[in-house]
Amino acid sequence: MPEPHVLAMWGLLAVVSLATYVWRATGVVIAARIKPDGRLSQWFTCVAYGMLAGLISRIMLMPVGILAHTLLVDRLVALGCGFALFMLFRRAMPPGVVGAVGAFMVLAALRGYGIL
């Protein structure tokens, strides 16, 4: 028999999993009732893009957790490096991602070792 606090943790996981699944399932219920290529369906795609863009830009500009211990200028310089490579390689994703994260890691390491 596992300890009570471990059991409680699994219970918490079940509740949290359901609490996320509710949104996914609500989407299914409504999707079955609207026209697939209709205006409402297009609007929901726009809302999803708007929400995700807002989330990402918030993480980049006002992060919480571990990213909050890095400097805004480092995050933006890294993003700029990524975009430069992205454009240089004719809008190819891998150079953009590797360039941005590589630049960020170098900056974070330099600051970590007190060089920058």
Binding site: T45, G50, L52, S57, G112
Partner: protein
Amino acid sequence: MEAFRLLVFVVAASMTGWGSLARDSGFTFGVAVTSTATVWGLPGQVAAAELYAVGAPLLAIALASSMANLRFFPMSLSLLPLFRGDPASWRWRYVFVAMMSVNTWAVTLRNGPSLPIDQRGAYFTGLSVTCIAAGMIGTAAGYHLAGTLPFFVTVSLIFLNPIYFVFLFAGVRARNGVLALIIGAVLGPITHWLSPEWGLPFCGVIAGTMAFYLDRGMRGDDA
């Protein structure tokens, strides 16, 4: 193919960050790894772990993590029409949405329409199962590596996830989607500052609605 390898690597690396955080928050190994498959939404997992660590009540944890994963509602609504015409896939719709992440959603939304309708379900399932497996492996690795990696490595792994999304969305072609992304990116920090709990859904609805009507207006001019 190269893009898929990158995707799998990004998912595993991002979940490495989650594994470390879960351990620091007091989650057991089993709970940490299982949550990656059953919650499958990093912001909600992070919210749950951080609140659990400070001893918040169950209801508060459930509400906060649910709100952090609200995006799955419009995402699931916009993904499902791709499977609507194929009864064999449509039957699995409640399973499909459980496997959906921002990655698999964005990639399927981009590549799905050009696939024959009876192959979309298999495409999405293959992609999703691979990503979930990679995420669970990443979580397990992160859980064991917690505290051993230097700060600049851990923080770069966390930075990888938002950066990947930036370039994933830089490839969006549909004009209403591009408009929604630009408006949402400007609006997101503002609405978050106004209300950390409700800022994100408001941002989505405002940016999405503006983009939708702007695009229709432009189309009217073109005609």
